[in-house]
Amino acid sequence: MVDTITQAKWDRLAPRFDSMAAKGAEKRWKPWKEGLFSQMDGKVLFLALGTGLDIPSFPKGKDITAIDISPKMIEQAQERVAGYEGSLRAEVMDVHDMPFEAESFDQVFTSCTFCSVPDPVKGLKALYRVLKPGGRLFMFEHTGSRHYPFRQMMDFMTVLTSKLGPDMNRDTVANVRAAGFEVTEVNNIFLDVVKTIKAVKPA
C-alpha cells in the first residue's frame, strides 16, 4: 500500500522542486553523481526520480526503470524522461511496496532518497529483494555525521526539516548493513555528511 502521507508531502513540493534544487545542489553535486552513475550496467532500478534532475547525468544507452512515490514529481519529470537517449521508464511506486519480481535487477541506484523514506531499513530490504545475488547498490545520499559538532547540528536541523521533507541525521550506512548488504565503499564528498555508498548483495 502506498504511503499517502509521504506521497502528499512530495506532491506539494513538486511544482517548486526544480527552483529549490536545480541551480544549487544539483550543480554542486553533478561531478560526483556523474561519476557514480557512469557505473550503470545491465538492468538498472533508479530511485527516487523526482523531477528527473538526475537524468542528464545518466550515461546514454542504458536500460533504466525509475520510480518515485509522487505522481506530481513524475509528471514534472516527463520532458526529461522523454529526452533520455536510452530506455528509461518512469513509474509511480512506493519503495516499501514494489511489485517487481525478486532478483530482477542487476543494479540499484539511489539519489538523495533514504533521507526521506519513512522506514529506511524496510525500504533497503525491498531493494535487496529485487536485486540479483551479487547485484550492486550505488547510493548518493546525505546522512547524519558521526563527529562533533556536526552530529549535534544535524540532530537539531532534523527537528526543523523532517516535517517539510528529509531527515538530516540518518545513519544510512548502518541501515544498508542492517538490510543485509555488504558495504564495499563509502566515499565522503562533503564532511561525512554527503557521500556515495557502494554495497553488494552477497551471491
Binding site: 554542486r28 555488504e182 565522503n188 562533503f190
Partner: protein, 128 residues
C-alpha cells in the same frame, strides 16, 4: 574544500555576509542591561535559526548541505559572540559588523579544514 573557484569564493562571501547580518541583529537586540550568559545563549540559538533562514537565498546558487551547515554555524557563532560582547559593553555598530564578519570567515575556514580531514574513501571494497 571544494576546489571550484565559484564555490570557494561563494562560500567565503556567503559566510562573511551571514556573519555580518546576524552580528548586526544581535547588536540591535542585546544591550548592556542583559545578563551575559542569557544574551550569549539566546543569541546562539537565534543566530542558528537566522543562519538557516539566510541559507535559503544562498543555497539557490551554492547548494544544499555545503551551504546550510556553514551558514548555521556562522549564525550561531556570530550571534553568540556579538550577543555576549553587546551585553558587556556599549559597542559601535561597526565593531558588531566586523566581529560578525570575523566569525563568518573563521567558520568557513573551520569547515574547509574539517572537510579536508573527513572527505574521501573511508572503506575499501571487500568484493569485486
Amino acid at each position: 574544500m571544494d576546489h571550484r573557484l565559484f564555490y570557494v569564493v561563494g562560500d567565503f562571501i556567503a559566510n562573511l555576509a551571514i556573519g555580518v547580518i546576524v552580528g548586526l541583529i544581535a547588536w540591535a537586540i542585546i544591550s548592556p542591561s542583559w545578563n551575559m550568559w542569557g544574551a550569549m545563549f539566546a543569541m546562539m540559538a537565534l543566530g542558528m535559526v537566522l543562519g538557516l533562514v539566510l541559507y535559503f537565498p544562498v543555497g539557490i546558487k551554492l547548494g544544499a548541505m555545503e551551504a546550510m551547515i556553514p551558514a548555521m554555524y556562522t549564525g550561531m557563532w556570530s550571534g553568540m559572540v556579538v550577543g555576549m560582547m553587546s551585553s558587556m559593553m556599549e559597542m559601535p555598530m561597526r565593531h558588531a559588523a566586523e566581529m560578525g564578519a570575523a566569525c563568518g570567515i573563521a567558520e568557513i575556514i573551520f569547515i574547509w579544514v574539517a572537510n579536508t580531514i573527513l572527505r574521501g574513501v573511508t572503506r575499501q571494497p571487500k568484493a569485486s
